[in-house]
Symmetry: C2
Subunit: 217 residues, 2 copies
DNA sequence: TAGATTGTTAATCGATTAACAATC
DNA sequence: TAGATTGTTAATCGATTAACAATC
């Protein structure tokens, strides 16, 4: 048991992916080692913050040397559990669902996509990427046979709540939510990770408008 | 000039969309007024935090009564600038690009989509949703004719950096980034709002693994 | 008027930054 | 050894929470 039992903030966790992304880039440029200072410069963070984060996650650095790029990358991936091979299913094969199935590098994230499901007879039975879209009955069977670690929710806004409730009833414990709606109560024990496009765009709009206020036209 | 010149934290700004989303829901249930307490319960936030946020954004509440739902919603939308009608173009009409064009409610976010562009001859000239996909030359013309407030970047990972640099050279000042890559330097004055699916999924994986550690199998 | 709930000030908590002894 | 850079402790800064006088 190597991991220190320190509370790690949500912000730190979310920075982790950022570190890994940059480290991969450095790896492909064959950079062997990097200091907290250099990495900070690249990411727009302070060296202090990086050292704090990394030391909380493990014991990766070498004084006077920095961090070995490949070993740090692997170490951080271990922390994230990229190697724990979580399973996922996708519910709702519309545009977003298709985009994820066809383009998203699930395996690089250590996630195995078991299947995709929809209620629209027009898409059930179709092949999307490597995957055959199945119907609601098959979804029910899937949930009984092998509960996935993650359910990717890509149904329409209207169906979001009902589908989420159904999934939770059937034992789903983690949802990656693309419905642009708040699903479930904030007190639900189910893990929900939201990808709210509209929140993201509205935030961008806010900052654009702020900028324009300062320097009008 | 009503807005108080207080610094508003990024976290507050990002909560704004959340408030608006819930208020719209309440509006459609014909709820007239709501207290910070009730709203907090619904969103999993404290009443204090909500009062802090809302009073920073404007003067919306009435002691002893709460907040008028429709007027608060409108007020917050004003703060976000939903009515300032920003323009956008979309570059890279792959799956994600298509999904956005066909399904994303741009107008509800106060954003007008002017056009979509791609270099693939297979898609140029095709109709996606209401929009005709144009080629690179047309993109160049568009940027000269009418610089959009927002550029939505949906090209492939490989093309991300070059495209971003090109866009910035041609005067783009805000990018909504769907490329799963860090584009531009953190010191660039260009506003970049990232939608990094992989970061989001990896974060979810981290919390799932944490949960599993505590309560193994 | 009495009850409710705001806006705001003060207190607490947590996260980021700075500093520096330890060490490669 | 001298120089560099870590991990960590202490200081600062900012955000959240609590409390309460003002007021509808």
């Amino acid at each position: 048991m190597k991991s220190k039992r320190i509370k790690i903030s949500d912000n730190s966790v979310r920075r982790l992916s950022k570190y890994i992304r940059k480290l991969k880039e450095l790896e492909s440029s064959e950079v062997e080692a990097i200091s907290s200072m250099e990495l900070g410069d690249m990411l727009g963070l302070t060296s202090s913050q990086i050292r704090q984060d990394l030391s909380a996650f493990g014991d990766f650095g070498l004084p006077g040397y920095g961090y070995g790029v490949p070993s740090l990358r692997r170490g951080l991936e271990d922390v994230l559990g990229v190697n724990s091979k979580l399973t996922a299913i996708l519910v709702g094969v519309g545009n977003i669902g298709k985009a994820l199935i066809e383009n998203f590098p699930f395996s690089k994230c250590g996630v195995q996509l078991l299947g995709a499901f929809d209620i629209d007879p027009g898409i059930v039975g179709e092949r999307v990427g490597e995957i055959m879209v199945q119907n609601r009955i098959a979804l029910d069977e899937q949930l009984t046979r092998e509960a996935p670690d993650i359910t990717i929710l890509c149904v329409t806004r209207d169906a979001a709540n009902d589908t989420a409730n159904y999934l939770v009833e059937r034992g789903v414990t983690a949802i990656w939510n693309f419905t642009n709606t708040e699903i479930l109560s904030p007190y639900s024990p189910v893990l929900v990770e939201n990808v709210h496009f509209s929140d993201s765009l509205q935030t961008l709009c806010y900052y654009i408008n702020e900028k324009n206020k300062k320097r009008p036209n």
